[in-house]
């Protein structure tokens, strides 16, 4: 379009230039010569005829050739001269007048010629001018002309109509001056074109200007004004001729073009990438500004001697990447394939940055490559990100391998796709090991017992897409199975389809083991609560029972829920139904008090068993408090102490028996200490040595009573024996009575073991025996003297008999002594038992108190036990001391039958209660016997009770036979039962030997002592059919004991 415009422009200019030479050759040259010739003829005529009219010729020529203002001046001058001469003719007369009229006429003629000349001159010009003007007017340009000094001489009417000036007033335009221009030229361009014009006028160079001109409609439009100044022969500027073309469209197109170009270039420069163009041979021909800025050199600087521009471009590429770049580019240039490469490019500051470069060829119609257009952009950050990503991926992989869990993944069909290293390390199985040949999952690491369950769970999970959680035993690399929990969750895509399963296996073997242990312990604990032989119940803060343990339920025969009664609190219902009526009010009161005050309680009461029997229990309750000390619950226990209560009664009974033993005064008993002091003694002993109790209290010593020949033995042997063994074998010795007489005794002693420096001694008075022995000796002596010969005869035999007798005596004594020693040892044992408990408890208490923090609760408990054991020890001691109590010796001749009847009466009630029939047969004519009524009665009752006890367990008829007969010179009493019989007939008479649960083992021992002290015998034999038969004899003629 621009070219078209230019073409029309030059065509117009050519038209103008062709017309100008015609005008110049026709006018000045031939016509001026003719005028000069005519003027010369007129002057010559005027000079010859002496009339001025000849001068008209030159005047006419002047008029002819005068132009513009000169013409006006000529006319004016002629007019003035004519008027002047007319005035002179009027004022002057005569010749002057004639001359003046002549000259006036001359000038009038001259004027006429001037007018004619003007008309005549203009006639041919007008035709030409009209033609020219028509041509000009018809030309599609606005034309103008101006005088050499720049004043407008001509403006075409089209121009005038263009700017909106009246076409019939071209003069106005001719006179268009600066002010006129100012009206139609855009104010911004005015100064510029004035300057231009001035310069053109001054230098006479062609004038060319573009400016905005106001069209008639008031719009400014761009026009191009072009003026030339043709010169005449002398080189003088003839005038200015010009055209003016409306170039508004062109201008707008230009502006648009420029804008587009600027945009394009801005685009190229502003695209945040490097753009470049290469020649088909690879030489760079264009680099975008950004690229130039980046690499710091432009195309121009690339041209270095000896190096192609491509080579210098390659120099900016990282040396490691340059060969690849060169190869790739070379390959692309050769084949015309698209170029793509990533490489590091050196930035102006020397830093290499990653670039991604791409180039494509531009081809002409023949398909030849014209240029390569390339683009490369900075991907440093991307590359870094990629490196970082790769790094983090590597880290992640490391992490997955390093976490102490087994991680695996499987595809949506369950085929394993990945196991982490830990998995392989722990299980020793690789991905291949858990993959079946067909690619599916192989449960090779799962315990065969768990495999089926795991397989089911896995199939279910894969089928439903639900989370898979399973516990099983997993094979370890070492061949052991450990409990493992595996969880797997599916990863889904946006549509919810499963892409992958991810699973984690965690070793929970310790947890499972711990849980199992915990469960077992819990079970144990619950078993404990139910199995401890204690009734446990839980009460609310108001005392309502809420829980019974199994024992209690078994005991009561009902559970806590079955206790309630409508309309009554469960507490009072419990009291009413379960507690003995005599105790319920008391217990209810206690419980209410405890609940009100928060203090625990402990009391004994009777509770009804399921079978309706009330049994004694010891109930205790303690509150459970929360952190604030508020009572949350009450825990109550009750222990069945019915048997203990019975035992307590038994002990009381037994104590009574021991007391009777002491009352019976069979043996002397002394408590002594190692310093030789007699601390206490019973009356039997005091009677033996005839001391008073006051003497004892005053501080009686063995030393005082021991005869000199026994001192040595007493001080050394006995003390030594006691110190070493804790007891002293029974031995015969003598003591001084208070009166100085000697009493032969059999004495045995034993220390209370442990820290105690005390002991107990048992002394039997041997006076009677000694006396009997002495009598026997006397008889023997008499016998010996009277039967000396016989004695002599049977000397050897008698010796043997004597030896035998002696031996048997010794044996008897030894037996007695042994049983005494054992008795003392047993008593010591009775004391040692609580002492051991006290010692152990004290140490435990000390340790509880020494703890940090001290366990006061336990310490208190322990102290409670110490007190209990001390009391128990004290009880044993007091029991022994009770043995010393005196009872009057009442051994009188009495009928045994009466005593037996009395004893039977005493037990009759008990026998009836125990459903035992008493079968008593006593011979009619029994001799009177001297015996201690109380003691023998005790023996009887003891034996009868034993018999009844023995039959407790039998279902048959319970019959107890008592038979009393005189056999020879002894009265034998036999008591037979129908019980299970005696298992250890030899042992039952030993002290503390018992077959009964609650027996102390003293009864039969005491019985035997009593019977033997009466000179009788007590033994047991098997019953005729079954059961046991206890027999004791009492000599019919017993000497009274002095």
């Amino acid at each position: 379009m621009g070219q078209n415009i230019r073409l029309t422009e030059s065509a117009e200019t050519n038209v103008l230039r062709q017309e100008q030479p015609v005008m110049e050759t026709l006018f000045p040259q031939r016509r001026i010569i003719l005028a000069i010739v005519a003027s010369a003829v007129g002057i010559a005529v005027s000079w010859l005829m002496k009339i001025p009219f000849g001068l008209l010729a030159p005047m006419a020529a002047l008029f002819l050739f005068a132009r513009g203002r000169t013409t006006v001046l000529l006319h004016a001058a002629s007019m003035i001269a004519m008027v002047g001469f007319l005035l002179a003719a009027a004022f002057y007369g005569g010749a002057t007048q004639v001359l003046a009229v002549t000259w006036a006429a001359f000038f009038a003629l001259a004027l006429c010629i001037g007018v004619i000349a003007a008309i005549g001159a203009s006639a041919p010009l007008v035709d030409e001018a009209v033609h020219a003007i028509r041509t000009i007017e018809c030309m599609p340009v606005y034309t103008w002309s101006a005088s050499p000094d720049g004043r407008s001489t001509f403006v075409s009417s089209s121009t005038l109509s263009y700017v909106g000036l009246p076409a019939n007033e071209p003069r106005l335009f001719h006179n268009l001056d600066n002010a006129g221009w100012r009206r139609i030229v855009h104010p911004d361009d005015y100064d510029k074109i004035i300057e231009r014009r001035r310069h053109a006028l001054k230098a006479g160079v062609p004038y060319d200007a573009e400016y905005r001109l106001r069209r008639r409609d008031g719009m400014y439009r761009w026009v191009k004004s072009f003026g030339v100044a043709p010169r005449d022969d002398k080189g003088q500027i003839v005038g200015w001729y010009g055209t003016m073309i409306d170039i508004e469209e062109q201008k707008q197109a230009e502006v648009a073009l420029r804008d587009r170009e600027r945009e394009l270039s801005q685009l190229v420069d502003m695209v945040p990438s490097h753009l470049w163009r290469l020649a088909p041979n690879g030489e760079p021909i264009f680099l975008s500004k950004r690229m130039v800025d980046f690499i710091g050199i432009d195309i121009a600087q690339m041209s270095k001697p000896g190096l192609s521009r491509l080579e210098s471009l390659i120099e900016t590429i990282h040396p490691d990447d340059a060969p690849a770049f060169r190869d790739a580019l070379g390959h692309c240039l050769a084949t015309g394939q698209e170029f793509f490469l990533r490489y590091r490019l050196r930035r102006a500051d020397g830093i290499y940055r990653w670039m991604s470069s791409r180039a494509e060829p531009l081809r002409d119609k023949q398909g030849c490559v014209i240029q390569w257009y390339g683009l490369c952009h900075d991907i440093e950050d991307q590359v870094r990100a990629e490196v970082a990503l790769r790094g983090s991926e590597h880290k992640l992989r490391q992490m997955i391998d390093a976490v102490p869990t087994m991680i695996w993944s499987a595809d949506c069909n369950g085929a394993p796709t990945y196991v982490n290293r830990r998995f392989s390390d722990i299980t020793g199985a690789t991905l291949e090991d858990i993959t079946a040949p067909d690619g599916s999952l192989l449960l090779s690491v799962i315990h065969p017992d768990d495999a089926e369950g795991a397989w089911r769970a896995i199939r279910n999970a894969f089928a439903t897409g639900e989370t898979y959680v399973q516990r099983y035993r997993q094979l370890r690399a070492n061949g052991r199975y450990r409990w493992t929990e595996t969880r797997a969750e599916p990863l889904r895509d946006e549509d919810g389809a499963i892409l992958q399963w991810y699973g984690v296996s965690v070793d929970i073997d310790d947890v499972v083991t711990a849980q199992t242990a915990l469960r077992e312990r819990e079970q144990e604990l619950s078993q404990l609560v139910n199995m401890v032989p204690v009734h446990i119940s839980r009460l609310t803060t108001t005392g309502e029972p809420t829980f019974f343990n199994k024992r209690l339920i078994d005991f009561l025969g009902l559970d806590v829920t079955e206790v309630g009664e409508p309309g009554a609190s469960r507490l009072s219902a419990t009291m009413r139904t379960l507690i003995h009526p005599d105790d319920s009010a008391r217990l209810l009161e206690t419980v209410r008090h405890s609940v009100a005050t928060g203090e625990g309680y402990s009391m004994k009461y009777r509770m009804r068993r399921a079978d309706g029997v009330y049994r004694w229990v010891n109930g205790r309750s303690e509150p459970l408090r929360d952190d604030e000390g508020e009572v949350v619950q009450w825990y109550a226990i009750s222990i069945d102490i019915d048997d203990e209560m019975r035992l307590y009664k038994d002990i009381e009974e037994r104590e009574a028996k021991i007391r009777r033993l002491v009352d019976s005064d069979i043996i002397g008993i002394v408590i002594w200490d190692l310093d030789g002091l007699l601390i206490d003694a019973n009356d039997a002993f005091l009677r033996m040595i005839q001391y008073e109790r006051e003497d004892l209290q005053a501080g009686l010593r063995w030393f005082d009573m021991t005869p000199p020949e026994w001192q040595q033995v007493h001080a050394q042997d006995e003390a030594k024996e006691l110190a070493e063994t804790g007891k002293m074998q029974a031995r015969e010795k003598e003591y001084f009575r208070k009166d100085g007489s000697r009493v032969p005794v059999l004495i045995g002693a034993a220390c209370f073991e442990g820290q105690s420096r005390q002991g107990v001694a048992y002394i039997l008075d041997l006076t009677e025996r000694k006396r009997a022995e002495a009598a026997q000796l006397q008889v023997e002596e008499a016998l010996r003297s009277s039967q000396a010969q016989l004695q002599q005869l049977i000397k050897d035999e008698r010796h043997a008999q004597a030896a035998l007798q002696q031996a048997s005596d010794k044996l008897a004594k030894a037996t007695q002594a042994a049983s005494l020693a054992e008795l003392s040892a047993s008593i010591a044992h009775e004391v040692n038992q609580p002492l051991a408990a006290i010692a152990a408890n004290s140490h435990a208490c000390q340790r509880w108190l020494k703890g940090d923090p001290p366990n006061l609760e336990r310490a208190q408990l322990t102290v409670g036990r110490i007190i209990r054991d001390v009391n128990s020890a004290a009880e044993v001691v007091s029991r022994i001391r009770a043995l010393f109590k005196q009872s009057a010796d009442t051994r009188t001749n009495t009928a045994l039958s009466g005593v037996i009847a009395e004893a039977c009466n005493l037990v009759a009630e008990e026998a009836a209660r125990r459903r035992v029939r008493m079968d008593v047969e006593v011979d009619k004519d029994l001799p009177l016997i001297a015996f201690d009524r109380v003691q023998i009665q005790q023996v009887l009752i003891n034996l009868i009770r034993n018999g009844m006890d023995a039959m407790d367990a039998i279902a048959e008829e319970r019959v107890l036979e008592v038979r009393v007969r005189l056999t020879g010179n002894v009265v034998q009493t036999a008591i037979s039962d129908r019980g299970p019989g005696i298992e250890f007939p030899d042992k039952i008479f030993e002290p503390f030997f018992t077959t009964k649960e609650r027996g102390m083992g003293m009864g039969l021992a005491i019985c035997r002592s009593i019977v033997e002290s009466h000179g009788g015998r007590l033994w047991v034999e098997h019953g005729e059919l079954f059961g046991a038969k206890f027999c004791f004899t009492l000599p019919a003629e017993l000497k009274t004991v002095s």
Binding site: Q833, A836, H843, A844, T862
Partner: protein, 216 residues
């Protein structure tokens, strides 16, 4: 169950002594289980941990010393005797049969605790030894019949060639067996294997020297 677990059994017919001993042991941080009689102790289901038995001599059913004799064959814990009236023959008898101590009541807690701890130590060692022996037996049981044939020959000191000839197998086969035996028995060296064989009382049937002599 950890190896730190241990327990003390108390057998005494006297409730207060039982109670007091349990308390004392507990105050030393040792858990105790008490039994009223020897029978109850024998019947009870006892935990399989290092233990000591504190045994009263006088018991209602059978005498403590008799119990010691009865259970002497089994793996029973070391026994500390306590007695109400101890005599020299009983104590000698008890100690002779391997009792840790024989304490007459009442005793000092130091004495009891020392005895109990000694008993626990002894039991731990015994258990360890038993466990080692069991492991050794297990390993021996894992040998094949052939390897069991090879073992005595190897520990008898026969050369591979001799042993192979003895079993009528090639020397290479014997070496394989021998290597398996070493591996299965976890023996570090032949000397180690010989020691194990001694412990297992594997009869040394062949002596190289005897064989040499026989050949001579």
């Amino acid at each position: 169950m950890t190896t730190d677990d241990y327990i003390v059994f108390v057998v005494d017919d006297d409730a207060s002594v039982r109670e007091a001993l349990s308390e004392l042991l507990e105050s030393h941080g040792i858990s105790a289980v008490a039994y009223t009689s020897a029978g109850e102790y024998v019947r009870a289901d006892r935990p399989d941990v290092p233990a000591t038995l504190v045994l009263d001599v006088e018991l209602p059913d059978i005498n403590g010393l008799d119990l010691q004799k009865q259970i002497a064959d089994g793996d029973h814990p070391p026994i500390v005797f306590i007695t109400g009236h101890g005599d020299i023959p009983s104590s000698v008898r008890a100690i002779k049969h391997g009792a840790v101590d024989f304490l007459p009541k009442p005793f000092r807690d130091d004495d009891l605790m020392r005895a109990v701890r000694a008993g626990l130590d002894q039991d731990r060692k015994m258990r360890l030894a038993r466990a080692e022996m069991d492991a050794l037996r297990d390993r021996y049981a894992s040998l094949t019949a052939r390897e069991r044939d090879v073992l005595p020959l190897v520990v008898s000191g026969l050369l591979n060639k001799q042993a192979a000839a003895e079993l009528r197998i090639s020397e290479v086969t014997l070496q394989i067996h021998r290597r398996n035996v070493m591996k299965k028995m976890a023996a570090a060296s032949l000397a180690d294997l010989v020691r194990m064989a001694e412990k297992l009382e594997v009869p040394v049937t062949h002596s190289r020297r005897a064989r040499d002599r026989g050949e001579l």
